[in-house]
């Protein structure tokens, strides 16, 4: 978390600990702080404050959006369109709805991870009730042509949800331009606290709540508000908006420095999705003749935390569904590494990785029965 975020949250624990739904003064104080945070989050995506619903995180936002629409629109139809590279929060929710009798179309993506808007147009049917396509991918960083997709959804008069967990605060987001009806956000992805997120719900959207109870969040999401978390999220949103024009280009430069450095020092490595518009902070690299989990552990022992799409490290023992969807074989996914940079990443951090990784790759390749030094 950014120190400013911690500082903003502290008074909520010590002084302003009222229940935001209470009408007594300290409840109202908490409510005022939450309203402030709501305004910050709304400004980050050009929404109105009344359109921001605070939830427990990106996963809940996705669930509320998808299940909420599926439920409220079931009289109209049961067809949902999504992509093959969604985050598990969307993917598993859609799979669950399939089991409940909904019909889901899984759109393919290009080798760089892009959905073809033409495929979407062709997939829409009279009984289509929801299109849910992520803004930017969490593994490879590909940014979808959301404006075009939003226009297609509007023309077809179908609700459009986008998982914006990765894109919020990393690239400019304007929910009006994108024509989304629902947009998921997560606080900890922008250096706010974990356990809090938000769903943008366009005014007039008919959404059945997944959490019922005391009617909090304008009846969109019941449950006593996580005031400290929300206040922290608000501060993180404010900082993210301020940094969009300065921090993010710097992060993109660092990402490019990392990729160029690694390519110059290690043979047989490939950058995924490099021909698509990409998030500034995500770099997904495939290393031939080395396995991802071994690379992750080796880097971890050197103080670098990264992740991999290798089947070896996933609980399911399946290679990443995203890498498979962009046409990579399980063998190729086996050697994948994902670097996530942030506003806190420095040039020294990047150079350290560029110095450290080649030796690790070299060592693992020497162990490989297939690798022959060129």
């Amino acid at each position: 978390m950014r120190p400013e975020v911690v500082a903003a949250m502290m008074p909520v624990f010590t002084e302003h600990f009222g229940n935001a739904s209470s009408i007594h003064w300290f409840g109202q104080q908490a409510k005022a702080m939450m309203d402030d945070a709501r305004q910050q989050v709304a400004r980050l995506i050009n929404a109105e404050t009344a359109e921001v619903v605070f939830v427990s995180g990106g996963t809940e936002a996705d669930n509320l959006a998808i299940r909420g629409i599926a439920d409220s629109q079931r009289a109209k139809g049961r067809h949902i369109i999504t992509s093959r590279i969604e985050h598990h929060a969307v993917l598993h929710t859609c799979k669950d709805l399939e089991k409940q009798g909904y019909d889901v179309t899984w759109l393919p993506v290009s080798g760089d991870g892009l959905v073809d808007p033409e495929d979407l147009r062709k997939a829409i049917r009279p009984d289509t009730i929801l299109i849910t396509i992520m803004h930017a991918n969490n593994e490879i960083g590909t940014i979808q042509p959301l404006e075009e997709i939003g226009q297609i959804a509007e023309d077809a008069d179908v609700y459009f949800h986008s998982d914006g967990v990765q894109s919020t605060g990393k690239i400019p987001v304007d929910v009006r331009k994108l024509k989304v009806d629902l947009y998921s956000m997560s606080s900890h992805k922008i250096h706010g606290p974990k356990g809090v997120g938000a769903l943008f719900v366009r005014k007039g959207t008919i959404l059945k709540p997944t959490m019922t109870g005391g009617g909090h969040e304008r009846n969109r999401r019941s449950g006593t508000e996580n005031v400290a978390g929300i206040v922290g999220f608000g501060e993180a949103a404010r900082l993210a908006r301020e940094g969009l024009k300065t921090d993010m280009p710097r992060v993109a430069t660092l990402r490019d420095r990392l990729e160029a450095g690694l390519k110059s020092k290690i043979e047989l490595i490939h950058v995924n999705a490099r021909n698509a518009p990409r998030l500034p902070n995500t770099s997904n690299i495939m290393v031939d003749y080395a396995e991802g989990e071994g690379l992750v552990i080796s880097l971890d022992l050197k103080g670098v935390a990264v992740s991999t799409g290798s089947a070896c490290s996933s609980g399911s023992l399946e290679p990443s569904h995203v890498l498979t969807a962009i046409g990579k074989t399980p063998d190729e996914a086996h050697g994948s590494l994902r670097f996530s940079l942030s506003t806190m990443t420095t040039e020294e951090d990047v150079d350290y990785v560029v110095e450290t990784l080649p030796g690790i790759v070299e060592r693992l390749r020497e162990l490989s029965p297939y690798y022959k030094k060129v």
Binding site: Y289, A290, E291, G292, E293, G294, I297, S298, D300, L301, S310, A311, C312, S313, S314, G315, L317, P319, P330, D331, H334, L364, E366, L367, S368, P369, Y370, Y371
Partner: protein
């Protein structure tokens, strides 16, 4: 990470890495679960394994278990080596996290495969 010090040591400093040019038997096995591969070379004289070397492309647990198992083989009687189980290898390295238990099968499979002809 839930790996033991010993496992990390065998991953970082694997023993018995390499090839044996005049090996009596060579086996190459791959893990059907995650795609890791191990190649094992052995020299056998008088029913006893005189030398063993391995190469592997896989995760840290696969490399460590491959290395440990190869080291175990040296000096062992063939009949004895055939009885090595995946659990034995995993336990010797301080156990494996639940999601990594399948990794130890690579080494035990390779041993069974390479000793087939003896």
């Amino acid at each position: 990470m839930a790996y033991s010090e010993k496992l990390l040591d065998y991953f970082q400093n694997p023993r018995c890495v390499g090839e044996i040019p005049d090996a009596h038997a060579i086996a190459e096995v791959s893990n059907p679960v995650c795609g890791d591969v191990m190649k094992l070379w052995v020299k056998v004289d008088d029913g006893r394994i005189q030398d063993a070397k391995f190469k592997a492309q896989g995760c840290s647990a696969a490399i460590a278990t491959s290395s440990y198992a190869t080291e175990m083989l040296i000096g062992m009687k063939v009949a004895e080596a055939r009885r090595i189980t995946r659990d034995q290898i995993a336990e010797a390295l301080g156990g494996l996290p639940a999601s990594k238990v399948h990794c130890s099968v690579l080494a035990s499979d390779a041993i069974k495969e390479v000793l087939k002809g003896f």
